[in-house]
């Protein structure tokens, strides 16, 4: 179950946001400017049911999220939703996978301690006996060039959504 973030969990100076999550409502998140580097050689894997509730994740996912496995399983995947991400990115994710297509994208994720990490994510529908039973996301290490390009793009998209990019720009 998704909860508001508590300042006791966060290390260093933070900004406070109230983000509106689909099927959940407003969530208070606390965000710092500290990036955690992507772990070399690893894939970060999670699976959800058709509503986006986390059903499985690997150890790298747990470690990078800054949450315990118990806190993750059964919770909305938007527990990782960072306020710097434009909402339209996730709309395209859901539009694609619900249409049975693969989605790729660069995502800035929020950790339980307020820090962030960048990933290159691929999400696919899990088809069993011809039916979509859930989704799998596999993330890998993005290049700094791609991260810079994504920041530039997401700044524009945020502006179009009437908000702004507040995080570091490299």
């Amino acid at each position: 179950m998704l909860r508001d973030m508590q300042s006791t969990a966060v290390v260093g100076d933070f900004r406070e946001y109230h983000i509106n999550l689909y099927g959940f409502g407003a969530r208070k998140v606390l965000v710092t400017d500290e990036e955690v580097p992507y772990p070399d050689g690893k894939l970060i894997v999670s699976r959800t049911d058709t509503r986006g509730i986390i059903t499985h994740c690997n150890q790298s996912f747990v470690e990078m999220s800054g949450h315990t496995r118990e806190a993750l399983i059964g919770t909305e995947h938007s527990i990782l939703r960072h306020p710097d991400m434009p909402g339209v990115a996730f709309k395209s994710l859901w539009d694609d996978v619900e249409a049975g297509k693969i989605w790729h994208g660069y995502v800035k994720n929020l950790r339980g301690d307020g820090k962030f990490y960048w990933v290159y994510a691929t999400v696919i529908p899990n088809v069993r006996d011809g039916k979509v039973v859930g989704y799998t996301s596999v993330r890998r290490k993005p290049s700094r060039t791609k991260i810079r390009e994504s920041i530039a793009l997401y700044k524009q998209l945020k502006a179009q959504e009437g908000s702004q990019w507040d995080g570091p720009e490299v």
Partner: protein
């Protein structure tokens, strides 16, 4: 003659092994084939293909009945050819090591430059994972020079000769190189993806024997001579793989193959 009497001599099934088998385990697969026939009471012919392309062609022509397959091919076998994965080996991993010459100025993957010469074998899973590990340097199939060689010793040779800037190794093959060779090379990063593995798959003609084959593999260490055969293959044993484990691995491979 006891055991031969129970065999169905009419049907000869084909057993084959992913062409990335390590040379020291070839005899192990012949011993395995003999042991399998004796304990299953079915007749198998072991076919060792020397390339993935040749093996895939045989699969397409429905020649294969039992296959120890590379995870890259599991998708085609299960979803297009109706195979079912029954067990995976214990004690072996399909991890990839990215290696440069010891005196290379490259200290981390991100230092590699476009047009880098990349040496690898035709092992599809290792090549795929290797290319993914080059992505942080903005490298991809379109901006590297791929050099495909016939084995990991030749990947090492290409690096030593200076005809490649970076090479991909199966971790076991890297660990198996001599100290003298390894000292002249330097690993940059090793994958840690335990979810991708070789599996033993049963084909449509053998579906009636799926449970027998799975049960036999799981009991192998306890059955006469089974432990010795496993040792010859370099495995500690077999672990059960169920339908969902296989589907999950295929989904995972599909996300990695997608561009």
């Amino acid at each position: 003659m006891g055991w031969a009497g129970g065999m169905n001599m009419e049907t000869i099934y084909q057993l084959t092994v992913s062409p990335d088998f390590t040379p020291e385990h070839i005899s192990g697969w012949y011993i395995y084939n003999t042991w399998l026939q004796r304990n299953l009471g079915l007749h198998f012919h072991l076919e060792m293909y020397d390339s993935f392309d040749a093996q895939r062609e045989a699969i397409r022509q429905d020649k294969v009945d039992l296959i120890y397959a590379n995870p890259y091919d599991a998708s085609m076998l299960v979803r297009e050819k109706g195979f079912r994965a029954v067990v995976r080996p214990i004690g072996v991993a399909d991890e990839c090591v990215i290696v440069v010459p010891a005196d290379s100025p490259v200290q981390k993957v991100e230092d590699l430059q476009p047009n880098a010469r990349v040496a690898s074998t035709d092992d599809p899973d290792i090549h795929l994972v290797g290319m993914i590990m080059l992505e942080p340097a903005d490298l991809n199939a379109d901006n590297v020079q791929s050099i495909t060689v016939d084995g990991y010793v030749l990947v090492a040779k290409a690096l030593l000769k200076g005809s490649a800037d970076v090479g991909f190794f199966l971790k076991d093959a890297w660990d198996g190189l001599s100290n003298t060779v390894r000292k002249q090379l330097r690993p940059l990063v090793t994958s840690q993806i335990s979810d991708i593995q070789h599996v033993l798959l049963v084909g449509p003609r053998l579906m009636d024997s799926v449970e027998d084959i799975q049960g036999l593999m799981l009991r192998m260490p306890q059955i006469e001579k089974g432990a010795g055969v496993l040792e010859a293959l370099g495995f500690e044993g077999w672990a059960e793989v169920d339908h969902e484990d296989t589907e999950f691995m295929i989904d995972l491979m599909d996300t990695l193959k997608a561009r």
